[in-house]
């Protein structure tokens, strides 16, 4: 694929990510932190997020599978996940985590399991999205271009978007 169409595809894809609420401005902030001295910053952080999240998700399903659920522990894990997802701007994961915590407070094991399912789904979604994004970035760089930097002044909120 030629560089121009790659870049356009990258822009389209990123805008879609923002429009559909997968990412929010925090991700832009991350991108802004990345510079020549720290060229892999976003990838580094996001990879860290993946590792951390997968660890947490596994931990969560293990905790929730037990006969007597330690809701405190669950809450702590979800809090962690919420914090890290907020840090990279994975908005939808963060939102689900917030709801998850509410459910946790009610000590509703079944509800928690459902939310875990939801979080997992959102996580894998955003993961696949980000991986695609990185792949695109790599392709652009390999083609000798520069990754376009987008500034999103109009973050949209999918969950409130009235149809």
């Amino acid at each position: 694929m030629e560089l121009g169409s790659l870049q356009r595809r990258y822009i389209d894809f990123t805008s879609a990510l923002f429009r559909e609420g997968f990412l929010d401005n925090q991700y832009t902030q991350l991108q802004q932190l990345q510079d020549e001295s720290n060229p892999e910053f976003v990838l580094e952080v996001v990879t860290l997020f993946f590792e951390d999240s997968e660890k947490l998700l596994n931990e969560l399903s293990r905790t929730l599978d037990q006969q007597v659920v330690d809701f405190k522990k669950v809450d702590a894990h979800v809090h962690q996940l919420k914090g890290s997802s907020a840090s990279i701007g994975a908005q939808r994961v963060k939102n689900v985590c917030m709801a998850f915590r509410n459910c946790c407070e009610e000590r509703n094991q079944e509800g928690c399991l459902r939310w875990l399912q939801q979080v997992r789904q959102e996580y894998f979604l955003v993961k696949s999205k980000l991986e695609t994004l990185f792949r695109l970035e790599k392709q652009i760089l390999a083609a000798g271009g520069s990754v376009p930097v987008l500034c999103f002044l109009w973050p949209t909120h999918v969950e409130t978007l009235s149809v």
Partner: protein
């Protein structure tokens, strides 16, 4: 009374009868027993006349003698007249003489008669039908007998004849009839003129007229013969009395009745009838009432039953909806997620289009389900409101950005204005407020093809105060110049509004209570709602017409949900709509005031600057001013472009920027080059010129001539963050670029953070990484710690750190606790240093140890902020890190810290360090 009359009549009759009997004896004694007779006709007549008073009921008496056929001739000679027949006296007396008298063996010619009946002398009594019968019976029985009533000769009046037989010799009481016939020699008859007699009798008694008296001969009970009185039919009531006139064969009766019916007692009758009618009516009314009450009660019971059932059904429905909606949502999210993933795979254009369509439909379905779920939740009373602090202005900015695309498509002007009286941070359910406003704006956008949509937020009391002013506002002074519906009408029906009107001092109300009553309006210049549909606007699933959902989509549930949500927030919702002019929806909500006042933009780099807003529409300029004020920029409004130059040159204020509305610019585009050149000529610090434009208006095409003077074009709708970015670009500062005039302190902070040792404490490695990345970006040397405990160890003086960022929520030991420990530790050492217990050299010659600690927290609740300060923290930054915000917080903190500690040493060192780019500890 009738009996009395009958008795009197009977008595008088008996008297007469007795006298007749006496007369008979007189005749037998003086006529037959004497020879020659002592009585002749004259004597008899005179005697009878003179004794008439004794027989009040008789009109006359006559005596007939028994003459045998053999004695006839002799008798006739002796008397000097012939015996005549009775029935033919008047017609042909001459012929009768020879007729059938020969056939008879005996005769009873009248020889004596009272003068009034003289004409009957010589008539043979046996030839009269009644007389003959009477005579035969009288001589057989020896008693007085009566004839049936008949018409009397001559007088033609009704009468009866009483006959007594006169015997030759005295007979024993038990003599046989044959002996009596043999002994009979004459017959005395008394004529009773019943009619005259009864009349006479009744005359003697009073009230004759009121009585009708009839006397009947009832010998033959089937054919009564009337003896007295008019022949009347047997109508009416009458009294019957039996009369006994001494003749056992004949039966007589007297009938009495009132001649006239007694007058009816009209008053009594009317009264009683009236009473009866009233009683009936009352009875009927009572009956009707009772039956009605019973019916109503019965109906009520039925209704209650039905109501209960309906309510139960409604609850069941809501629960069902809630359950089903939730159950649908979960798999739908899966579907959407998978579609999303499918999008990322290699698809050709058609496939991608299919997926996109599927996804859009799925999203539409999810949002519909969400709405239904909301409605169901509200109906089943399960919806609970959150109470979290939030910045209303930021929320509104977000909402505006949400509709940016749609407004742009339609070319609508979208604006928000929040009164400065509305606190920065409010406590309430911002999600629901967002939902309501989103819904209202969404509707407005749907139905508006031109003009604007204007969202305003005021404090309730403020609106009350400005009531009078509002009236004066000209209707064309709106955001885009189109007329709008008078929004005051939209809240006129609010109960609260009327309730609070009399409050004399509303300002007192707003400041004293912790509750704050917001009034939020969404004004549009759309097609409006048809009058006939206005009443059912808030009814679920009701749309203006069936075509609406086809044209504009939607379920019609939004407004009903909004109404419920507003109700939950103790508010009210109302609207005013004029077809073809527009609609304004207004609602109120009661929120709680948060004590903090942390407008994130107030401390922006533009603080204290002055801007001139040039716009010929005051309403629109107000919006611009509002957004500028949020950034801390003083805004001066100017309507006339011609005045701009004088404003810029003559004013004592230095104006840093000029914001010109595109429309105003185009109107007088020629004046601007003149102004700019004038300014340039004056060698003044030329303010930056910014153009405010609507997304649709093509800026370049018609203003290209003067475009070169414009630093930046700001696309509306205005939002604080976007305006900030635009201004920063225009003013040439931000994103690490140094400001031209160097006014902005935090820009030098880049150097301030340079090579600083900063400790970041967070249990979340991702956060840790991001935070350190952000800080490293500005040249800081970042060390990470994963727990509070580790941080304490690392911050034990002497240490190398210049500042510390501490997460609050951490397992084992939270940020507060860790900070407390650190502060205790520091205080301990400071005391030791003060008392020279330990050599200062050990602590790197620092006299007072106090490492600035900043909390990192995801929520900006006031309580957290206070808690931070109490624990000895110096400030806080909100997570996740945002470059600019981080700058600001660090700047503020450092300034505070250094002023707060006003230790010359530190300050000196800071200054020195600052100048030399060295340590500022």
């Amino acid at each position: 009374m009738c009996d009395e009359r009958a008795r009197m009549l009977q008595d008088q009759f008996n008297v007469s009868m007795n006298h007749l009997q006496a007369l008979a004896i007189l005749i037998s004694t003086f006529h037959h027993a004497k020879n020659p007779s002592a009585i002749d006709q004259i004597t008899f007549a005179r005697y009878a006349e003179r004794t008439a008073f004794e027989r009040p009921l008789t009109s006359g008496v006559a005596y007939a003698v028994k003459v045998l056929h053999s004695e006839r001739e002799q008798f006739e000679k002796q008397q000097g007249w012939k015996i005549k027949r009775m029935d033919s006296t008047e017609q042909s007396p001459a012929r009768e003489e020879d007729a059938d008298l020969e056939n008879r063996d005996e005769y009873a010619p009248v020889i004596f008669a009272q003068d009034t009946y003289k004409h009957v002398i010589s008539f043979d009594m046996l030839t009269g039908k009644e007389d003959r019968e009477n005579i035969l019976r009288a001589r057989e029985s020896g008693k007085g007998v009566l004839t049936a009533p008949f018409r009397l000769l001559k007088s033609r009046r009704l009468g009866v004849i009483l006959t007594y037989a006169v015997y030759k010799s005295e007979l024993t009481s038990n003599a046989t009839p044959a002996e009596r016939i043999q002994a009979a020699i004459g017959y005395l008859g008394g004529i009773f003129d019943v009619e005259a007699l009864v009349d006479k009798l009744l005359h003697q008694l009073a009230c004759k007229h009121s009585m009708m008296v009839n006397v009947y001969d009832k010998t033959n009970p089937y054919e009564p013969i009337i003896m007295y009185g008019s022949n009347m039919t047997n109508v009416g009531l009458y009294h019957i009395s039996t009369l006994n006139f001494g003749d056992p064969i004949r039966k007589h009766e007297m009938h009495c009745r009132f001649k006239q019916k007694s007058p009816l007692p009209w008053l009594a009758i009317t009264t009683s009838i009236g009473t009866l009618v009233i009683a009936l009516l009352v009875g009927y009314i009572f009956h009707a009432t009772v039956s009605r009450i019973a019916k109503v009660e019965d109906d009520y019971r039925q209704m209650m039953e039905l109501k209960k059932r309906a309510e139960a059904a409604d609850v069941a429905k809501s629960q069902f909806l809630a359950t089903v909606s939730h159950e649908i949502r979960t798999p739908m999210n899966g579907v959407l997620g998978m579609l999303q993933m499918l999008m990322d795979t290699d698809l050709d254009i058609t496939q991608e289009d299919y997926v996109r369509t599927a996804q859009a439909s799925g999203k539409a379905l999810v949002s519909l389900i969400n709405e239904v779920l909301d409605q169901a939740k509200i109906e089943s009373g399960k919806l609970e409101l959150e109470a979290v602090p939030f910045d209303l202005r930021a929320v509104l900015d977000d909402i505006l950005s949400l509709f940016y695309g749609k407004a742009q498509e339609k070319g609508l002007e979208l604006a928000v204005y929040v009164s400065d009286q509305v606190p920065d941070v409010l406590v309430g359910d911002h999600g629901r407020i967002r939902q309501i406003i989103t819904n209202l704006i969404g509707n407005s956008i749907k139905f508006t093809e031109r003009g604007h949509i204007y969202l305003t937020v005021h404090i309730f009391e403020e609106v009350l105060n400005s009531l009078d002013k509002e009236i004066e506002v000209h209707s064309t002074d709106t955001l885009c110049g189109f007329p709008v519906a008078n929004r005051r009408c939209s809240w006129e029906s609010f109960k609260n509004f009327k309730l609070e009107l009399p409050a004399s001092d509303p300002s007192l109300l707003s400041t004293s209570s912790s509750h704050i009553n917001l009034i939020i309006s969404v004004e549009d210049t759309g097609v409006g709602i048809p009058l006939e549909a206005q009443s059912r606007v808030f009814t679920p699933f009701m749309q203006v017409g069936p075509s609406i959902s086809r044209i504009h989509g939607g379920t019609g549930i939004g407004l009903s949900i909004s109404k419920c949500l507003v109700g939950l927030m103790k508010g009210e919702i109302g609207f005013v709509s004029q077809p073809q002019i527009g609609s304004t929806f207004t609602f109120t909500v009661v929120l709680t005031r948060a004590c903090t006042n942390s407008n994130e933009y107030k401390s922006s780099e533009f603080h204290g600057m002055t801007a001139l807003v040039v716009d010929h529409r005051p309403a629109r300029a107000k919006v611009t001013k509002y957004h500028l004020q949020r950034l801390g920029v003083n805004a001066i409004l100017e309507i006339d472009p011609n005045q701009v130059l004088s404003r810029l040159t003559s004013g004592t204020l230095t104006i840093n920027m000029v914001l010109v509305e595109k429309e105003t610019w185009s109107k007088d585009s020629s004046i601007w080059p003149f102004i700019i050149s004038k300014l340039k000529g004056n060698q003044l610090d030329i303010p930056k010129v910014l153009l405010l434009t609507n997304p649709t208006s093509s800026v370049k095409s018609n203003t290209s001539s003067s475009m070169e003077y414009i630093s930046t074009i700001i696309t509306k709708p205005l939002r604080a963050s976007m305006l900030q970015v635009s201004l920063r670009r225009a003013m040439g500062c931000g994103d690490g670029e140094h400001s031209r005039n160097g006014r902005l302190p935090q820009l030098s902070l880049c150097g301030l953070l340079h090579e600083k040792q900063i400790l970041v404490v967070d249990d979340n490695i991702v956060n840790l990484r991001v935070a350190s990345g952000a800080l490293k970006k500005y040249g800081a040397e970042v060390t990470c710690a994963e727990s509070g405990k580790k941080a304490i160890g690392m911050l034990k003086p002497p240490h190398k750190f210049d500042a510390c960022f501490m997460d609050i929520q951490m397992p084992e030991m939270d940020g507060f606790e860790a900070t407390k420990r650190i502060r205790e530790m520091e205080a301990d050492i400071n005391k030791q240093i003060e008392c020279w217990e330990v050599p200062v050299e050990t602590f790197e010659n620092v006299l007072h140890w106090h490492v600035p600690i900043l909390a990192m927290t995801a929520d900006v609740i006031q309580a957290t902020h206070e808690e931070c300060l109490r624990c000895g923290m110096d400030g806080y930054v909100s997570k996740p890190f945002e470059g600019e915000q981080l700058y600001r917080e660090v700047t503020r903190m450092l300034v505070q810290v250094f002023i707060g500690f006003s230790i010359r040493h530190c300050l000196m060192e800071y200054r020195g360090g600052f100048e030399k780019g060295e340590s500022w500890r």
